[in-house]
Subunit: 428 residues, 2 copies
């Protein structure tokens, strides 16, 4: 497979796709949902073959579970695609409109980014979700899934690609890469591919980030903190800490480190130890923590570890600013929480913690596109340009400056008798 | 100079600077303007020393001119800094506000990006402009200017840095790098520096882009096109082509290639030849062009050359889509113009040309932050993420998600008796 050629075809399609109207894109999504529904026997058969192969190769049980794409998963995928139809089109939105002078009008209008490269690990549902998000936003997509799901992915990509084209989406808009070497080739195509979105383990995402010059939307780590301030409302401390740590441990927005203000460590730590132990959580404490409660001592490494497991590191800090400094030093810029009843201290925390999500008096686990009400989640980004935190469809668009004149030239606005710009905001 | 240490200090300052209020930042800008004004003898003396050195080294006349920083330039720089005071603060703006549930409110609020690295060639005015833009937007800044201007830059950076700190901006917010090796070191600090903005020649910008993993805001080329459609209003063709090519040839938004629809090539080309020759422009034509007018033949290289000079390449195209394809293939995604009286054809051009600026019936030269009414220009970007085209202060900010709860936890929104999110838009 010549990836440059495939990518060039995707770029060619992307140009055309950018001009496809919202109705056609929505009709294509409806067709894709129908085609997946109609193709369910073919999909399940391919998935069964993938699962048999995986069992032969003794894949671990959690991986097998993620790989499985049965009728329930198909139903979810179909309703996921259909749910995008009702969302507003992120492209074609006018962000600003300015009259520069009589008859010379400037419009800043959102448009698709172009060609998106997606690399994901085993779950085939990611293929359906991501390709439909790209279509809704008007982007071409190159995808590479995990090799365990090769047969399932091939069938899904084929169904989605054809249904899209039959509904009027330009040919070339979707391509599935199959070999691992294809990914290496893709990551080098920074002149054709505009954005890479990786989905998978931290090590996987970090590998992608380290091996391409193409902008990457994603995050390698989720080292989230809960800081229990001296001014905390003690009724909510236990709830928030337990939820942040244990509600679902294997995800990036679970808390990994608990910081406790020294003034309340004596009263709060024993309560939290009881609550966390009851949930089966192992606590690794700093020396001051260990002086108050009987827990395993933490080592330096703990402060920068994303456990994704029933483990939490605990540190007693001298004051609010020490908590902020710790988070900015060891955190991953994902989501951090302060529990405090003092709004001024809450504000200082939100001002000074340099993370995508800065929350007061609620769980880290709210950091999520669905919970945020974004309609669809493209991913979570810890970048500091373009998009940050949970990213909705607007992360897949950029804008163009469209200007309409009547023979206007710049020479008229310089020198003697120069015309003046009006720079009048127009209603959008 | 230990660049990592300097950058770490800048990052530390950036965290504090992000929480500095608008009034303090504006007062600091006023102090900086006063300090530059008060320090003018020192600045001029340093600049005179740089100029003497440059003359000894036989620097070319245009470079000497750019290097010169006299009382007029100082006046311009002072009024440039003062003009930023009246602009709205790009940070602290609420982009969206959503009630997730009673008492749980989410705010998407703009904030500074963090640490900006600036690398610019000779002009010392760039130092004043860029450092003040960074301050206004709340970012720390590391700067490296051209070595010819070393003494001028040192004095300017010292004046600006001190005046800022005295007005309440955190120490470390500005640092001037002096050695070329410092730039190499800076470009490697992708864990500390959030954005690089290069200012200088194409080769210089391209070098920066090729040698860092840090996101770069800028453009390496400006290969802009004017397409004269068969439906063009002939009265405006000559004006727009001449202005786009000749109003100022040495800049990125000047036109480099003219495309002419075949149906009107016979009538339009002789007129344009006369008008361009009168301005001293050399024309390099495709075979079809050369069949109509007596000009030098173009070679393949011409279509992808940014002349920045009184030269233009001219190609006759069969139709609108051929013009669009040519631009998407050879252009640099900067600014492209169609001259047409047919709004449908204008729309198709704007939809399908994949450039930051897509203009109908006006000069390419309007592609500029001042002319766009952005208030201040940070740079022009041909990237397709974050910011595109002329970039104002909003290119120096990103956003945080601030959430205010009252003990809300995610467990309450899952399983049996799950609470429902309200996802109600709040007024901004």
């Amino acid at each position: 497979m010549d990836i440059r050629q495939t990518a060039a075809a995707a770029k060619h399609a992307a140009i055309r796709l950018a001009a496809v109207d919202t109705n056609t894109k929505n009709a294509a999504l409806a067709s894709i949902a129908l085609a997946i529904d109609a193709g369910r026997e073919r999909i399940v058969a391919a998935n069964r073959a993938d699962l048999e192969q995986a069992e032969k190769e003794s894949l671990a049980a959690p991986l097998l579970k993620r790989l499985k794409f049965d009728h329930d998963k198909i139903n979810e995928a179909v309703s996921g695609v259909n749910s995008l139809i009702d969302l507003p089109d992120p492209a074609g939105r006018t962000l600003s409109a300015t009259e520069l002078d009589a008859g010379l009008e400037l419009y800043q209008v959102t448009c698709p980014i172009g060609v998106i490269g997606i690399v994901f690990e085993s779950r085939p549902d990611a293929l359906v979700q991501i390709s439909s998000l790209c279509l809704k936003s008007g982007n071409s997509v190159l995808m590479k899934g995990g090799s365990e799901a090769a047969m399932t992915n091939r069938v899904l990509a084929d169904i989605i690609n054809r249904a899209g084209i039959e509904a009027g989406i330009p040919e070339g808009w979707l391509a599935l890469l199959e070999a691992r070497s294809d990914v290496i080739d893709m990551l080098a195509l920074d002149d054709v591919i505009d954005l890479i979105i990786p989905r998978g383990s931290n090590a996987f995402v970090k590998y992608i980030m380290d091996n391409t010059n193409i902008p990457v939307l994603g995050h390698a780590d989720g080292i989230c903190h809960v800081f229990v301030d001296k001014a905390a409302d003690l009724n909510m401390v236990e709830r928030i800490v337990v939820d942040s740590k244990t509600q679902y441990v294997a995800v990036c927005n679970a808390a990994e480190t608990l910081l406790v203000h020294k003034d309340i460590a004596g009263s709060v730590l024993p309560v939290l130890r009881g609550a966390l132990f009851a949930k089966g959580v192992e606590i690794r404490g700093c020396p001051q923590t260990c002086a108050v409660i009987d827990v395993k001592p933490a080592v330096a490494q703990d402060w920068s570890t994303e456990y994704l497991d029933l483990i939490i590191s605990v540190k007693v800090v001298d004051n609010l600013d020490a908590a902020i400094d710790h988070i900015n030093r060891y955190g991953s810029g994902h989501t951090d929480v302060i529990v405090t009843a003092d709004p001024e201290r809450g504000k200082r925390f939100m001002d000074l913690v340099d993370s995508a999500g800065v929350f007061v008096n609620c769980s880290t686990r709210f950091s999520d596109g669905f919970r945020f009400g974004l309609g669809a989640e493209v991913g979570i980004s810890t970048n500091k340009i373009h998009a940050r935190g949970p990213v909705g469809l607007e992360g897949l668009v950029i804008y163009k400056w469209r200007m309409l004149g009547h023979g206007h030239i710049v020479a008229d606005y310089s020198g003697k008798d120069a015309k003046k710009f009006t720079h009048r905001r127009l209603p959008i």
